[in-house]
Symmetry: C2
Subunit: 273 residues, 2 copies
């Protein structure tokens, strides 16, 4: 990987998609002006994360996705779109893309674990809307080897580990934890994935919208391979920046060679069994 | 599992083994008097963790182990011995035992990952002394399903996951993190293993000994399945106690069914590949 500035746009989606897009492009332009080479948006960045309403929020004819590709190509930036409600052969997926500075999609990832839970005052059933994705991959680009996971996926150490084993140096995680699981698990889970796989991890949440029934946790976070938080947002609209320095990654892996110390003779993790 | 009181004895081993054993039995007696039903000792609880000296610290004829079995049988307690330098077919292993209230060994585990690192001011090469263990198992006893890992093992999420998949409700981890990795990774790593496997996790360190070249981190820790620290020691000699309540485990697994949401169709983790 190379040294570069990463920016996370913690935008606050309302029910007005056109207004949200206007705001997102303002934030992207600002992040670009400040020197970010890779910018990441949150899970379902263009609409409040209210699962029962997402069925109607597909990105028809990839209109929004095409705008983002155009923005990336024009501004010569890498852009991780955060996620869309994607319609594919009559099923809906929660899908994120990584776009390169030519405006070309170089990685597509659909959320593999669906959040079906009953927490105090919060019942969510993603499987009523979404179908599970079934691919895990890493893009090898000029910035480094980049993988994408989405929100709930991060709780399953197998996922980040499979990306780590494919050489991931940076894992981008559009996400929307809530105000129950966020304070309890957000920071330790993302930090632990960075520490155990010795890579950079970026967790990108929407800002909290008090008018929505779903209260996103916020606290977008950039973690280095030693587990340090390089930047952390509050709960409002905010862009957080950090320089990702490959020396930290190399130094961590030399000092504490966790990836080499795995016991391939004792356990085996494979995908598509 | 049943509801019971767990105690961790964070003793401070010196170079005088007889003196150390005297202190350990005092602490065990105290923990028993206070109602603990399971008591856990740290990694190499009877000698300072100076790797180059451990070759000479095998427990000859299981003398110390037999004393601990006798203590457990007499006091009708479960006891996890922390670990010994065990000689087995001309190799040395870092081995821990779980003893039941009859004084019988019901689980034996040898450290699977050896700590070979070069940290600032701290070079450790465990593989110069120890051979890696190669078994992973869970004891199903009156208290619940109990697994053991040792120190560095906890950094490899595959290990706790394999115990979790075997039904572990409680994972006991005799350990001796140091003052570099301890502040950086001790608490988040143990908390994350508890959260992702939705089980109780106990991390048991020796107290810090300023006369030893190896400065143990201390901070013995009991975590519940939601990731809360139920008890945490400082750096000195101390016994920490917590009641482990199966309701918390069941409630966590019902609210957030992580173990059911694993994607066995997308990835597979096996041991002894």
């Amino acid at each position: 990987m190379k040294s570069f500035i990463l920016a996370l746009c913690q935008n606050r989606p309302s029910y007005d998609i056109q207004q949200n897009l206007k705001r997102v492009f303002e934030m992207l332009n600002k992040a670009a002006r400040k020197g970010a080479e890779l910018i990441v948006l949150p899970e379902i960045f263009y609409y409040p994360y209210e699962i029962e309403k997402l069925r109607d929020q597909t990105d028809k004819d990839n209109q929004i996705l095409n705008l983002l590709c155009e923005w990336a190509g024009t501004n010569k930036k890498y852009l991780c779109t955060g996620s869309f409600v994607e319609k594919r052969s009559d099923a809906l997926y929660n899908t994120a893309y990584l776009i390169d500075p030519e405006g070309t999609i170089i990685l597509k990832y659909s959320k593999s674990h669906l959040f079906d839970v009953e927490l105090p005052n919060l019942k969510v059933q993603e499987s009523a809307v979404f179908t599970k994705g079934d691919t895990i991959d890493v893009a090898d680009c000029e910035l480094g080897k980049i993988g994408i996971l989405i929100c709930y996926d991060i709780r399953f150490p197998e996922m980040a580990r499979l990306l780590g084993r494919r050489g991931a140096e940076i894992i981008l995680v559009p996400a929307a934890f809530n105000t129950v699981t966020g304070p309890a698990h957000w920071k330790i889970t993302f930090r632990s994935r960075a520490v155990e796989n010795q890579c950079f991890v970026a967790a990108v949440s929407p800002a909290r919208n008090r008018r929505s029934s779903y209260r996103a946790y916020g606290h977008s976070l950039i973690i280095d391979p030693w587990g340090r938080a390089l930047a952390e947002a509050g709960t409002g609209e905010e862009i957080v920046f950090a320089r990702l320095d490959p020396k930290v990654l190399i130094d961590t892996r030399v000092k504490l060679p966790l990836l080499r110390h795995r016991r391939d003779d004792l356990y085996k993790l494979t995908d598509k069994p």
